[in-house]
């Protein structure tokens, strides 16, 4: 079964197309990466799936159900998103507790208190963090809260938009480990956007390389170990990300 299926997806911002004719199939339980540099349109694809970039044509279906153009409540329970900037993704005037309760209130779910403390535990935050404000948390702790918020509705698919690019390497390692563990424990499907190929090597099964709004190559992440890319841009990106130091250049 496919978790996310995109068929000839074209996305525009204010009438200007940013992504052209993208088709992808992401399997249930898979961890898939969209890789590219700034302006490649990788985040735009994620935002279109989430319902935050409504100007698209083509077809998006999630777990077999076609997706509408805006955010909707039923979709919210199957698919959630973690954002890039841990400093911008939490409301500055709300405590961790109210950030985590909000999805439950919106969906009329009871036993909020129990589920909030359960979620905190799941992302490795102690109960002492429950009533803190974002400014009392470090970047890594904020990102843990953001992950917990995305998990509150027990979704099956998580959209991850550069979840660790704003964090220090030592904190990045903690968050990557956490994301990996959560996927294993809860059988989640990940669609992750990143520019960092080593993170893909650690986290993902397959990847699509995007450049100038198009998918130029789809490859298993094992290709990162061998440098087995056919598209020139993908090879260039691979080499610039440190691939030139480890792979023998016999593939040319």
């Amino acid at each position: 079964m496919t978790a996310i299926s995109l068929k000839s997806l074209t996305i525009s911002y204010g009438g200007i197309p940013a992504v052209h004719d993208v088709s992808l199939e992401i399997g249930d339980g898979e961890s898939f990466a969209l890789v590219g540099e700034s302006g490649s349109g990788k985040s735009t694809v994620l935002r279109a799936i989430a319902g935050l970039a409504p100007e698209w044509s083509g077809e998006i279906s999630v777990l077999g159900a076609p997706r509408g153009h805006g955010p909707d409540r039923a979709f919210a329970r199957t698919c959630q998103m973690v954002f890039q900037d841990p400093y911008g993704s939490l409301h500055p005037r709300k405590t961790v507790d109210s950030v985590l309760s909000e999805p439950l209130v919106v969906h009329g779910i009871s036993e909020r208190s129990g589920r909030v403390s359960e979620a905190l535990e799941m992302v490795g935050l102690g109960q002492e963090f429950r009533f803190r404000f974002p400014h009392q948390l470090s970047g890594g702790q904020r990102q843990r809260v953001a992950i917990a918020r995305a998990l509150m509705l027990k979704p099956r698919i998580m959209l991850l938009d550069e979840p660790t690019s704003a964090l220090d390497v030592s904190v990045q390692a903690e968050i990557l480990n956490l994301l990996k563990r959560l996927r294993r424990d809860q059988g989640l499907t990940y669609l992750m956007v990143t520019h960092n190929l080593p993170v893909v090597a650690f986290m993902c099964d397959r990847m699509a390389v995007m450049n100038a709004g198009r998918v130029v190559e789809t490859a298993p992440s094992s290709a990162l170990r061998t440098g087995d890319f056919s598209d020139p841009y993908a090879r260039h990106l691979y080499a610039a990300s440190g691939g030139d130091e480890i792979a023998p250049k016999d593939g040319q």
Partner: protein
């Protein structure tokens, strides 16, 4: 030969509601005409060290040091007025994001020319030639056209090259580069760093490269200082980084995912493994 820069027991502190907090706690190093890297995570004090050398820490921040010498002159005793001819002309700094460092209402060429005019008087014709040469040196293909562009018309990579041109055109002796490529894409990063590297080596300048990226610093520097919460915890030759001894450095190195990653779990820094923090 006296070293270009001599720093002994540099301390930077800021007042908070809980009293003064030191963000740099006694950093000492010397720098010749070589490339020195300072690595650390956010809050390690690496950027504050760079700013303190240029005396860019504003009140209520406070800088003290036993010695802070640049090419035989004392930086600490200089007045703000006496610092000005040094800054830019003999010591330059490249900041993280060109978007915030370039004046949006001045053309690129005018800004680069301004960097020269602030320190010396050059005839107009010679100045224009020097700007063109500099833009060529930072590998901008069409220097005359780019010189007439405004900062918002150039890409991030080109913007950073313009910044480098602006900082190097007064021919300084020391360049401080604070995360010069963090705002750039990976494929552009290498170009920009190669360029800085080439200009430094050819002109026999000193470079202080401040970054959070261990691998990047190891690649472009001769020596490395690793900073953690305001202190230098490790000082080694770049080639020996992978034989680092301090648990913090080792932990950092291990926590970085590799492009040929096979580990299932990344080792996490155990912050209790060393004292001091």
């Amino acid at each position: 030969m006296t070293p270009l820069l001599e720093i002994d027991n540099l301390r930077v502190s800021f007042p908070t509601t809980q009293g003064r907090i030191e963000v740099v706690k006694g950093v000492s190093f010397t720098l010749g005409r070589e490339r020195l890297g300072i690595v650390g995570e956010s809050g390690s004090g690496k950027s504050m060290t760079g700013r303190a050398i240029l005396r860019l820490i504003r009140s209520p921040g406070e800088v003290t040091a036993e010695r802070m010498m640049f090419d035989g002159t004392d930086l600490l005793s200089r007045s703000e007025r006496a610092m000005r001819p040094l800054r830019g002309a003999r010591m330059s700094m490249i900041m993280q994001d060109p978007k915030f460092s370039l004046n949006p209402v001045m053309t690129v060429g005018a800004q680069i020319a301004e960097a020269v005019r602030a320190h010396e008087t050059v005839p107009r014709r010679a100045l224009a030639n020097r700007v063109r040469e500099m833009l060529e040196a930072v590998r901008i293909n069409d220097p005359d056209r780019v010189a007439r562009m405004y900062p918002h018309e150039v890409s991030g990579g080109m913007g950073q090259r313009v910044m480098i041109a602006m900082m190097l055109i007064p021919r300084p002796d020391l360049l401080i580069a604070d995360e010069p490529t963090s705002a750039l894409d990976v494929s552009v990063q290498a170009q920009v760093l190669d360029l800085i590297d080439e200009l430094i080596v050819n002109n026999g300048m000193g470079l202080l490269l401040i970054s959070h990226d261990l691998n990047l610093v190891a690649r472009y520097c001769d020596r490395i200082l690793v900073m953690n919460s305001g202190e230098v915890v490790e000082s080694c030759a770049a080639a020996d980084l992978h034989a680092a001894t301090h648990p913090y450095t080792r932990g950092l190195l291990a926590a970085i995912p590799k492009i040929n990653e096979t580990r299932d779990v990344l080792p996490v820094l155990d912050r209790s493994a060393w004292s001091g923090t």
